[in-house]
């Protein structure tokens, strides 16, 4: 898969309260959550971004609560993927489970600026900065997780497994 989009830069330790404040967690509707994505960081954020844009952040992106509403809000707001120096572990799981692509890269975070255009090749594990023509490597996800994604995410995997177990019990 090729992902292409414009960069929005964020600092270290972007927490889930900033991604989607808890006061909006009385719903799990993606469209409604998307309206408030990053609101306490920049109230105009969702108005500024275009579909397919990319967040490039420092370390520990998504730290804090386990709310799956955070990757859901980012995805529903139109962001195509998140690149960070590192991710907090629950956010990492949640993003994979809901199908929001995430990539770790030390270098690109330091070497790209807001507004530049990136192109990510998820099969080759490369990130190209189309504005500077520099290419960076990103680690491919572990085999098991790739398999999970290839069947359509954890929800699809569970459906298959439930079916398999139901048949076994017949």
């Amino acid at each position: 898969m090729i992902i292409k989009g414009k960069v929005w830069k964020f600092r270290d330790n972007i927490d889930t309260d900033v991604i989607i404040p808890a006061r909006y967690l009385n719903t799990s509707d993606p469209t409604e959550l998307a309206l408030h994505c990053m609101e306490d960081y920049d109230p105009q954020f969702t108005k500024k971004i275009s579909r397919g844009d990319i967040i490039v952040a420092g370390k520990n992106f998504g730290c804090g609560s386990s709310r799956e509403h955070a990757p859901i809000a980012l995805k529903a707001a139109g962001l195509s993927c998140i690149i960070a120096q590192s991710f907090a572990r629950i956010f990492f799981r949640n993003a994979i489970n809901i199908g929001l692509p995430i990539f770790e890269s030390e270098e690109i975070v330091d070497q790209c600026t807001e507004g530049e255009l990136l192109e990510i090749d998820t099969v080759k594990g490369t990130i190209k900065n189309l504005s500077t023509n520099k290419v960076y490597r990103t680690d491919l996800l572990p085999e098991f997780i790739q398999k999970l994604i290839s069947v359509g995410g954890l929800r699809e995997y569970v459906k298959e497994e439930v079916k398999r177990r139901n048949n076994r019990n017949v």
């Binding site: 330790n13 009385n26 386990s66 907090a88 572990r89 629950i90 949640n94 569970v158």
Partner: protein
């Protein structure tokens, strides 16, 4: 080669032989739970999975605690989803308002989480139960739906950092101060993906309530979870609570640790974590003049009976500062009742504090104590992120119950020494 406690627990719950750190394995789950924020999505995905029933009706907990008692119509709808799902699928451990409490305090209290268990909760503070010697991790809603259907979870085998605390704790220094101090030393991603194993003579002497507080905040250092070796104090806590048999594990002396970090505690003062990260802890003597508008004592971190007793010790014979709102929230109904019997609630109300029924409420900016623009709170909760307790331009300072109570009396952040 020896094994850590966590490796032994995982071995007992997986069919994969000879796994190593970093491997992804499937693990059987002993107890899984969710709250009114995370359960609605999990329920939706569970129903879509085609599963006819949950993997085990006794091993699932549903606890409306975050925005319950219902804070608004939408929250009421979310809580209703849990209630109806629990009825439809005959979930045994659904806790209604009036019987409920904050999940991470309630479940160990009811003997539903036990040493040696693999526990998965759809809430980041699931790590709290590591204090019992369980392997307890937080996940999101989709993972929880998968567990409700299949009874197992995939996870990456984590490495462990061992923390050894030695020396003697000063007066007013608690588990909360130790964990704030520890996070300030290693940073908010200092244990990312790893397990924090707390050990040493200080931990051996620490009460269960303080152990829960320490493990609770491991996630604030990015940890997958925390764990403490079960001992006599653990067994005494379990007496009369445990709902099923359990297994005690200990780490081998020759187990592999990613790092070993030692702290001598005798110079540690009460800690205050400044906005907007839990790693910004300073000793109380370096805090300076910080006026407060509100003080919160409660949450899954510090809403237990010992926390309330310490608050009462500080508040005894005192009045809450005229311009401060002190809100005290016992974490469960049992704790509330115990506090009532000990006369603590009387003391709190007489001192000018508001006492609430159990709820997560203000900790995550839900309700029951939201901050206005420019307001400042001292709080025994676990996070001080931007906007965590209300307006994006409000501030949260994290501390122990002793410091939060003393500050409520003084109207600014102070050591308990200053009001006693």
């Amino acid at each position: 080669m020896g094994k850590t406690m966590v490796e032994k627990i995982l071995s007992a719950h997986t069919d994969t032989d000879n796994f190593k750190i970093g491997d992804i394995i499937n693990v059987r789950v002993d107890f899984a739970f969710a709250n009114d924020i995370t359960a609605p999505l999990a329920i939706k995905y569970f129903k879509e999975s085609g599963a006819k029933e949950v993997f085990d009706r006794k091993k699932i907990g549903l606890i409306p605690d975050h925005f319950a008692p219902n804070k608004d119509i939408k929250s009421a709808e979310q809580c209703k989803l849990l209630r109806e799902f629990a009825q439809e699928y005959k979930i045994e451990n659904y806790f209604e308002v009036g019987k409920m409490g904050i999940e991470h305090v309630l479940l160990p209290e009811k003997g539903l989480i036990l040493p040696g268990d693999v526990v998965v909760g759809a809430d980041s503070h699931t790590d709290t139960s590591g204090a019992l010697g369980a392997f307890a991790i937080g996940v999101g809603s989709t993972d929880l739906a998968a567990i409700m259907a299949l009874g197992e979870v995939w996870l990456k085998v984590p490495s462990t950092i061992k923390f050894i605390y030695s020396g003697k704790l000063n007066k007013w220094v608690s588990g909360k101060d130790l964990i704030l101090y520890t996070i300030s030393k290693i940073g908010v991603d200092g244990a990312n993906y790893q397990v924090m194993e707390f050990s040493g003579e200080v931990i051996k002497r620490l009460s269960m309530d303080n152990r829960f507080t320490m493990c609770n905040m491991a996630v604030e250092a990015g940890a997958k979870t925390a764990i403490i070796e079960p001992d006599q104090i653990t067994l005494e806590y379990l007496q009369g609570r445990a709902t099923r048999p359990y297994q005690l594990y200990k780490s081998d002396p020759e187990a592999f640790y990613e790092k070993v970090i030692e702290f001598e505690v005798s110079k540690i003062e009460p800690q205050v974590a400044f906005p907007h990260l839990p790693e910004n802890a300073k000793p109380i003597s370096e805090v300076g003049y910080i006026k407060i508008d509100q003080s919160i004592i409660g949450s899954c971190t510090n809403g237990r009976i010992e926390d309330l007793r310490i608050a009462a010790e500080v508040l005894k014979g005192q009045q809450v500062y005229p311009e401060v709102r002190l809100i005290i929230i016992p974490a469960t109904q049992d704790i509330y009742l115990q506090a009532l019997r000990e006369g603590l609630i009387d003391l709190f109300v007489s001192a000018g504090a508001a006492v609430s029924t159990p709820t997560c409420g203000p900790c995550l900016g839900g309700y029951m104590g939201i901050l206005a623009k420019g307001e400042r709170a001292i709080s025994t909760t676990n996070r001080n992120f931007v906007g965590r307790m209300g307006h994006p331009e409000s501030e949260v300072y994290l501390s122990s119950p002793a410091v939060a109570a003393a500050s409520a009396v003084a109207g600014r952040i102070v050591s308990p020494e200053e009001v006693k």
